[in-house]
């Protein structure tokens, strides 16, 4: 910084700017980058509890043959591939419907759909678990309507357990994404729709040719946050199925937890697994930027 006598207004603001930036930079260094580097170092070590010793890349080679890790990875990607698109499309459709100015009680509907995402993850997981229990509300309802004759084993059957997890996350997060789309929709100039009306475009055509392209940056944003959120999935699996039956629903985050706290604690190997998650999130975000972000450069 140039040192001149008597700071001008500009210098003063600059100085304060630096103070603010330094503070947050220091905090990020301390609480984000330092742990990341420390984790990388830990991931090169192995051993039980506090008896860690340096093993180089052995943890990463062990990953290649670890069937439970592969299962956790498979489960997590299954949630991702099915749940994220379903949720994004659902959120988009609901947002478009609720954005219609002619719709009555819009506020009530918006609140109702947004409400799930202010509930605590653990609380809603436990409620989901009780609703979908063998003698829970959902099974009782289906049996009362004579749709099924015996209760669906939502938690003890590997396939239904996965479906249950997907239903739960979708319920919790659809409203959250809907809010982004609603705010995006309000930024679309109404005259564009008017012009389309004059040209005689159908509602579906307006949706695909105007709404979706105009919302592209927001769709990209929600897809990335949902993707990384799903990759870090923990609370729901832990509380609804506990990863069961027999690891059929275990997620990567839960496997990391198990390695640290359920099995013989091996923090080195757990750190290696968490680095795989970091790597996957980086790669996926990169791909999504490449596919969805190119047009924004114009």
């Amino acid at each position: 910084m140039p040192k001149t006598k008597g700071y001008s207004m500009e210098h003063k603001t600059n100085r304060w700017g630096w103070v603010f930036v330094t503070l947050s930079t220091l905090l990020i260094l301390l609480f984000v980058f330092y742990p990341m580097i420390q984790t990388l170092i830990t991931s090169m070590q192995s051993g039980m509890g506090s008896n860690l010793s340096f093993v180089g890349l052995k943890n990463y080679t062990r990953l290649l043959g670890d069937a439970t890790f592969k299962k956790a990875l498979f489960n997590t990607f299954l949630y991702l591939i099915i749940q994220v698109p379903v949720m994004i499309i659902l959120a988009l459709l609901i947002a478009v419907v609720l954005n219609d100015p002619k719709l009555k009680f819009r506020g009530v509907f918006r609140t109702a759909i947004f409400l799930p995402c202010v509930t605590s993850l653990v609380a809603y997981s436990l409620i989901m678990k009780s609703i979908f229990a063998d003698d829970g509300l959902f099974n009782k309802m289906l049996m009362g309507l004579r749709i099924i004759s015996s209760p669906i084993p939502w938690v003890t059957d590997p396939v239904f357990a996965k479906i249950l997890i997907i239903i739960a996350i979708t319920w919790r997060w659809t409203g959250y994404n809907m809010i982004f789309y609603l705010s995006g929709l309000q930024n679309i100039e109404p005259s564009i729709y008017e012009a389309a009306d004059l040209d005689g475009a159908s509602a579906f055509r307006k949706f695909t040719a105007i709404t979706v392209p105009m919302l592209k940056p927001i769709i990209l944003f929600t897809t990335i946050t949902s993707t990384s959120g799903t990759l870090q999935l923990f609370d729901e699996v832990m509380n609804i199925t506990g990863g069961g039956p027999a690891n059929a629903t275990v997620s990567i985050s839960q496997y990391i937890y198990n390695l640290c706290f359920k099995y013989s604690p091996n923090f080195g190997y757990a750190a290696a697994v968490s680095y795989v998650v970091v790597l996957i999130i980086v790669i996926l975000s990169f791909i999504q930027f490449k596919i969805g972000g190119d047009k924004r450069e114009h």
Partner: protein, 439 residues
Amino acid sequence: MKAKRILAALLGGIMMLSMAACSNDGKNEGSSAGSSQAGEETADSLTIWAWDDTFNVAAAKTAIKYYAEKEPDVKVNVVSMAQDDIIQKLNAALSTGTYDGLPNITLIEDYRIQNFLTSYPGEIKELTGSVDPSKFADYKLKFMTDVDKIYGVPFDSGVTALFYRTDILEEAGYQEDDMEDLTWEKYIEIGKAVKEKTGKAMLTLDPSDIGQIRIMMQSAGEWYVKEDGETVNIKDNQALKDAVAIYKEMVDSGISKQVADWDSFVGAFQKGEVATVPSGCWIASSIRAAEDQNGKWAVAPIPRLGNNEKSVNSSNLGGASWYVLENVKGADTAVKFLAETFASNDDLMNDLVSEISLVSTLKSAGELENYKKENEFFGGQKVFEDFADWTEQIPAVNYGLHTYAVEDIMTEAVQSIVKGADMEKTLQNAQSQAEAAVG
């Protein structure tokens, strides 16, 4: 503009407050537990961690009452916490060497203690000299002993028993005599009759918790690891293979009800949906909680593996013991507390028998007055005497370090075998996976 500033100031204030609150929290926990000041081995207050309010926590509270008569100056608190939370907190704190907020005494499950002793050397206090090994059952001491050094005070027995509903079995045509000295093969046969005549399931099975297989395996003196506690013993473990075959038969024959967790397991027998509960004796307190079933239950020895000559009608499931943390201030006081209570006090044990249905691992427990009482809930049976007899017959095994890591691999293997996968091949796979996990 002004509003923004006020908002910023408010936010800043909130942040600072919350930070201050955090650090305060730490201090409070520290002082209540007696923080770690090296060199100070005595303290005037102690903290105990335990799980299960109706069982372990209640036991600790009774022990505190006894100790207060002897040492009124020492204040002892017990904190009730889920077992998983205790494990997680101990792991997090011991691996980083921060002792603030840790308890002086903690309960640790027998399956896990070797793990803690190996993972964190020097953290769990040696109690040799304060605990008389000749007073406790041998199988129990084995978990917490390293050559001659004893690290814990044995507590409850995990001796297994077959709890059964006399009324349901009678309806299916079986008397109490038929339930003695069963084999699992015969048990399944009875189960089929029960299912056919009463429509009720014989037992519950939880696909994520294969305690049933652990019971059968230990009844033949085998475990997931060999005697050294380290060599994985899955693919050539005959007892395990026999156990898995029985498990598959239990599912295939339709005599089992699938449950998902502890609550649904307990709920099933409390609601009268199953005819039997083969489990550890500590489940008695939960069975007795269903007061409407008073007098309808009886207890028989656990069945044995009919195909396996080594298998006996006795095994173990769970069970825990008390440990002192070496580096938390007040370790010596804590040792004294345990020595005066759980390690020696017969009166305390006698009270606990009636209060929480404790099956103690003290050898002298059989002489306790309350042990000889007839139990009204179990149709007048002297259940504690039976438990004590069976405890002596439990085949001792070395649980080693990795029970839960191997168990998780095994739950998957068992489920795929139940679904029809080849047993030899699946166990071979499980063996190599387990070897990688413990290596």
